[in-house]
């Protein structure tokens, strides 16, 4: 065969096209993988459809959130932080809303606005940045922080949820803590996104100009054209999601990891998260903002995926932070308030099983229970002068 290599590449191109076209449905968003198919993401809105709950600090969501708050009369805000538990409802039916929207409705009558930011697997650094950003834009009366044991394994901020190119604002934290310095460096590096961070000097010297280069403009137009004219091209992001999903499941299968597998604490990450939580609380105290720290609901009719001692220690440490400021910080433990029947299953995160227990996301009724419990604590906090 003359020029075998060219034949090989040509045949491979055809095969690759067929495989991509036929076999990658591309319907997986990797960040929502932990939610499974039985759980639906829900972003709360007010009656005028302004977002009161966002997942990304981008222009679209941020503008909607702040505009809505303005139009509702710039009331003092109770600000909720959260992760996927906050924005998802298991086996959701039409007209069901999450606990954020329920609390929003309740508190409007009391002259308090409710706003929320929840991001999947958000660690305390993401909470810190979200809190500091919103604090710079609206008056915060109360901050509500769910402290998830799972997310004490997280670190850093995720580039895709903070101030991506859609938002031109170059936000920087004003305090001088190590964590703030690191977050600022991370944010700065995003302004010059597209650059590899080899060293501070390199970033400084090679920073791209403010205006997009000819390359960026052309690339954006070409991709826009391809997205518009080719469904396969437009679907590439979802195909990447499928691919990472498969890798994730493969890893779990090979290593025998299931939803119920005990997630070990990573000591230094845990300590860093705890430290960041303290920074948030301290900053709230300096600004006369009340704080509610709570241990979020977890499916507790089965064995928990935590080491018992580590979990007990974790809860006592969160309680201890609250105890430092008894007049302004409340601690609540809601780990068992949602009964077992209000939880569901999720698609298995390995290649062998069909489904597995979902420890994190509960049904609408669970959201109601949580909303009621939180309202009690918020009322107590609001009564404290």
């Amino acid at each position: 065969m003359k020029n075998r290599l060219l034949w090989e590449i040509s045949i491979a191109s055809v095969l690759a096209y067929i495989i991509i076209y036929l076999f990658f449905s591309g319907n997986t968003r990797f960040e929502e993988l932990a939610m499974g198919t039985e759980t639906v993401s829900y972003q709360a809105t007010d009656s005028s459809q302004f977002l009161i709950h966002l997942q990304h600090w981008d222009s679209l969501e941020t503008t909607s959130l702040l505009e809505g708050w303005n139009k509702r009369g710039r009331k003092p805000v109770t600000f909720f932080l959260g992760n996927s538990q906050t924005h998802s409802i298991n086996q959701k039916k039409e007209s069901e809303v999450n606990f954020i929207e329920q609390l929003f409705v309740n508190n409007q009558r009391k002259g308090i606005d409710v706003l929320c930011v929840s991001q999947p697997n958000a660690g305390m650094e993401q909470f810190y940045l979200s809190y500091m950003y919103l604090k710079s834009r609206v008056p915060l009366k109360t901050v509500v922080i769910p402290v998830f044991m799972d997310d004490m394994r997280e670190e850093g901020i995720r580039a895709d949820v903070f101030f991506q190119r859609q938002i031109r604002e170059q936000f920087q934290l004003e305090d001088t803590s190590d964590i703030a310095i690191r977050i600022n460096a991370e944010l700065r590096s995003q302004w010059t996104s597209g650059l590899v961070k080899v060293s501070d000097t390199t970033i400084r010297q090679a920073a791209l100009p403010e205006l997009p280069t000819l390359q960026e403009k052309t690339e954006s137009r070409l991709n826009g054209y391809l997205d518009h004219h080719s469904t396969v091209w437009a679907n590439r992001q979802n195909v990447r999601g499928d691919f990472f999903n498969w890798i994730y499941k493969l890893r779990n299968t090979v290593l025998g990891i299931k939803a119920s597998t005990v997630r070990k604490m990573i000591p230094l990450r845990y300590a860093a998260n705890l430290h960041t939580l303290q920074l948030i609380v301290e900053d709230c105290m300096r600004n006369h903002t009340k704080v509610l720290l709570y241990i979020p609901p977890i499916r507790s009719d089965v064995t928990l995926p935590y080491n018992d001692d580590e979990y007990a220690h974790f809860k006592s440490e969160i309680n201890a932070i609250a105890a430092l400021y008894p007049a302004d910080v409340l601690y609540a433990n809601y780990e068992s308030i949602v009964p077992g029947e209000l939880w569901g299953y999720k698609e298995a995160t390995n290649l062998m099983d069909e489904r597995e227990i979902d420890f994190m996301h509960f049904q609408y009724r669970g959201h109601q229970i949580l909303a009621d419990s939180l309202q009690v604590q918020l009322d107590i906090l609001n009564q404290i002068r």
């Binding site: 045949i11 491979a12 690759a16 991509i20 190590d178 590899v196 000097t201 000819l214 052309t218 990573i266």
Partner: protein, 488 residues
């Protein structure tokens, strides 16, 4: 223009088509214009910097060529013009901030109140590469190793030829100019070989390097004091693989793009992480730079006369006439400069000197190694070289000297091996990368030839391999990050 972009793919299709369609005299002009467009896609105004460098060397080289060897002072003066202009450009754009900042530190240290103003200058992409090429051209003319190029079109194209413009491989005039003039007739082999190399490169960049980069960024953003020794090793290996995949990807695409036009540019990598010593490592890593450094820096600094230069390192005769002291002095000086070439930061100097120290030790311990045959086996050499080579990437990637020293010190603290701070996935991915790399090397060395003997099997396996590569490239092609070596 970034290689891992739709823009570049479209650009390449147009340029290669025109190259083979246009009459011979127009091809060169088209290539020169295309190369300027390629560069201008980043910042067109910086083309002028490149042309200042190119024009200086074009005229000085002709002047040197016209000056007989016996007019040494005049030849030296002309060479000095080249060096001052090129190194001046490099110093201004790359090192001005670094030198000013360090001078200010010195002034403060001396108790003086005066501080020099700091200027931040945008670093033109590829300046370290094209200035090296233009310098080496003039030096070769000065040494009488090549004749000066009379046609500015040919010479301009040698400097700007887009596949190797921004990050090499660093090309010698004696190798590229004859090829540009030759203009071979179209062959399907050029297309298939070029496409293959471009696919390899894109795969390494978009599927591997870009996906590792987030883990590396995450790790190096942490407070180094909180890291364990296991984390430091893991980060060293991860970054080692990231920079290798990233840079070798660029070289693959450069070689492939040139091949589509029937032009051969030198290879830059040959399984560097399978080296059995640091000397061997530098015969396999960034080959065009290490040979350039040897021919134009190390040999002159070691008082060795250069009689021939090539992209893979041509040294010539009379090598061993120099003394050990001058060789060692040359070694350390060369590596300090090599470090600084990579970036205006003390971390890069530290990186260079750490390589110099290890090579120095390898030389000093040679008599011992020669006595114990076990030390001369590939396996022992590799087991010692690989982790050391990876560890030396820490200063290359760390933010500053403080972080570098903190991280490196962890490796020597036994207690720091008792915990880890990053997610388990990171360690798993690092282990898989090592396995992947070794397996690829072994299959290339021992399996490929055997498989080739069964044509149908070889054909089938290659089809599968390219299918997988194309799927990955198609799915992951995004210009989310530039190539690391664009910065140098």
């Amino acid at each position: 223009m970034i290689f891992n972009s739709v823009t570049f793919i479209l650009f390449l299709v147009v340029v290669v088509s025109l190259y083979w369609v246009l009459p011979r005299n127009l091809k060169m002009w088209m290539l020169l214009i295309a190369s300027c467009v390629f560069y201008g896609f980043w910042r067109w105004e910086y083309l002028s910097v490149m042309f200042v460098s190119a024009l200086t060397d074009y005229f000085t080289a002709i002047a040197i060529g016209n000056t007989p060897m016996e007019y040494k002072r005049k030849r030296n003066f002309l060479l000095a013009i080249t060096l001052v202009v090129n190194l001046g450009l490099l110093c201004y754009f790359k090192y001005l901030y670094f030198f000013t900042e360090n001078t200010n530190h010195l002034l403060s240290f001396a108790g003086l109140d005066y501080q020099l103003p700091l200027f931040r200058v945008l670093l033109p992409f590829g300046i370290s590469f094209y200035t090296f090429e233009t310098i080496s051209y003039t030096v070769d003319v000065y040494r009488g190793l090549v004749k000066p190029e009379k046609s500015f079109l040919n010479y301009g194209l040698f400097v700007t030829f887009f596949p190797k413009l921004v990050a090499g491989p660093i090309q010698r005039a004696s190798e590229l100019l004859p090829q540009l003039k030759e203009r071979p007739s179209f062959q399907l082999d050029f297309m298939s070989e070029g496409l293959k190399r471009i696919l390899y490169g894109l795969f390494l960049k978009v599927a591997l390097a870009d996906n590792i980069s987030s883990l590396v960024d995450e790790g190096f953003a942490l407070d180094p004091a909180t890291l364990s020794a296991i984390d430091v090793w893991m980060l060293a290996f991860l970054f080692g693989f990231q920079i290798y995949f990233d840079f070798s990807a660029y070289s693959h695409i450069a070689v492939g793009a040139a091949k589509l036009m029937g032009i051969t540019i030198p290879e830059n990598f040959n399984y560097p992480y399978m080296a059995s010593s640091f000397k061997d490592f530098w015969k396999r890593w960034h080959i065009s730079l290490s040979s350039w450094i040897r021919d134009y820096l190390y040999l002159p600094l070691s008082n060795i006369r250069v009689v021939k230069t090539t992209g893979t390192g041509g040294i010539g005769e009379g090598l061993e006439t120099t003394t050990k002291t001058s060789k060692n002095r040359g070694l350390f000086l060369t590596w300090a400069i090599m470090g600084l070439w990579h970036g205006a930061n003390w971390t890069f100097v530290f990186w260079g000197l750490s390589h110099a120290t290890i090579i120095f030790l390898e030389r000093a311990l040679k008599p011992v190694r020669d006595k114990v045959s076990l030390f001369n086996t590939f396996l022992v050499g590799w087991i010692i070289t690989l982790p050391l080579a990876m560890l030396t990437w820490i200063p290359f990637r760390a933010k500053n000297m403080n972080d570098t020293l903190t991280m490196l010190s962890k490796v020597f603290i036994p207690k720091a091996y008792l915990f880890y701070t990053m997610r388990e996935n990171n360690y798993l991915i690092t282990a898989l990368l090592i396995l992947f790399f070794v397996a690829t090397y072994l299959s290339t060395q021992y399996l490929e030839e055997r498989i080739k003997q069964v044509p149908a099997l070889s054909f089938g396996l290659n089809c599968i391999k390219f299918t997988v590569i194309i799927i990955f490239v198609f799915t992951f092609l995004r210009p989310i990050s530039q190539f690391i070596y664009f910065q140098f």
